[in-house]
Symmetry: C2
DNA sequence: AGTCTAAATGAAAACGACTTTCATTTTCAA
DNA sequence: TTGAAAATGAAAGTCGTTTTCATTTAGACT
């Protein structure tokens, strides 16, 4: 990692080492706050902005990507060999990944048809995950209190 | 419109009338600010929050939907009979729509496979539109100054 | 090992789109 | 006409993100 960053003109520091390690040992889609909290447990002197800057850096060097599902919180997603889409649970905020190779093929054709030069694709399904659907079977309307915040 | 809103328990006002009219005579994806500016030209006393609240209302009664492409600005999209996806130009911020019926079918199957109860689908391609690709052919790196804000 | 410069850090402040509050006005059913 | 509920506009508040700035540190080069 140190070498990889060096080739891109960046330096290694203890804070950066810890932030990178912490990010890469997770598999899920983490927000700045979540990673900040995790990192603080190992070194409580690390600043929020350092975590933020390093997540940006991880993206800049091509090892992650920002994901925005419209809830106002930016999450950081590991790049996968095969492109994937997201199932986002509106209730528990869980993000589940799924393969989108077939869909990307269709989208690439669509873009081409419209002389649009694609840089990235976003495929997302919002709804309720298996557990959240189950948990609320008993409810009158099928959903929990938490989900009732509808207006 | 007045009648439609009345059945949903909302009142009509001159401001609301103007905001609704202004929104529906546009076909594109407008932000609060954009509609606010447009509406102000007809009635400069209308407040920003009134425009905001009425865009929310239009969504609530099912005539529009919020669209978030990750640039931090919420846009308001007219509901179409057939579901559509978006081509978002990173350069000029234009949103172009395209049919996604075939893709939705695939996604519905995917959700079903994972016991996920879908509420909505988001299909988006980010890249450069025809004009923005053309405009920069001559540039050394293929893109304009504006697009160079890369770090 | 010592020096130097660019990069990195942490705390705090700034930013900016969105949302809420509150006093006042307006709609519309009775 | 009247009164309750809804709507409005200005201002303030919220909150995640981003920048600023003084200080420290990494690492290249003597
Ligand atoms: Mn992902
Ligand atoms: Mn649209
Ligand atoms: Zn869930
Ligand atoms: Zn464009």
């Amino acid at each position: 990692m140190r070498e990889f960053l060096k080739t891109k003109g960046f330096k290694m520091t203890p804070q950066r080492e810890l932030i990178f390690r912490s990010f890469f040992e997770l598999t899920d889609h983490v927000s700045v706050d979540e990673l900040y909290i995790k990192v603080r447990k190992k070194d409580s002197s690390i600043g929020y902005s350092t975590v933020w800057r390093n997540l940006k850096l991880i993206c800049k060097v091509g090892l992650a990507e920002e994901v925005n599902v419209g809830d106002g919180i930016t999450r950081y997603d590991h790049i996968t060999k095969v492109p994937h889409g997201h199932l986002f649970c509106i209730n528990c905020k869980k993000l589940i990944e799924f393969n989108v190779e077939q869909i990307i093929a269709i989208l690439a054709q669509t873009a081409s048809d419209k002389n649009f030069a694609p840089e990235s694709f976003k495929i997302e399904i919002q709804g309720y995950c298996e557990e959240c659907s189950k948990d609320n079977k008993s409810d009158s309307n099928g959903f929990s209190q938490k989900q009732q915040k509808l207006n």
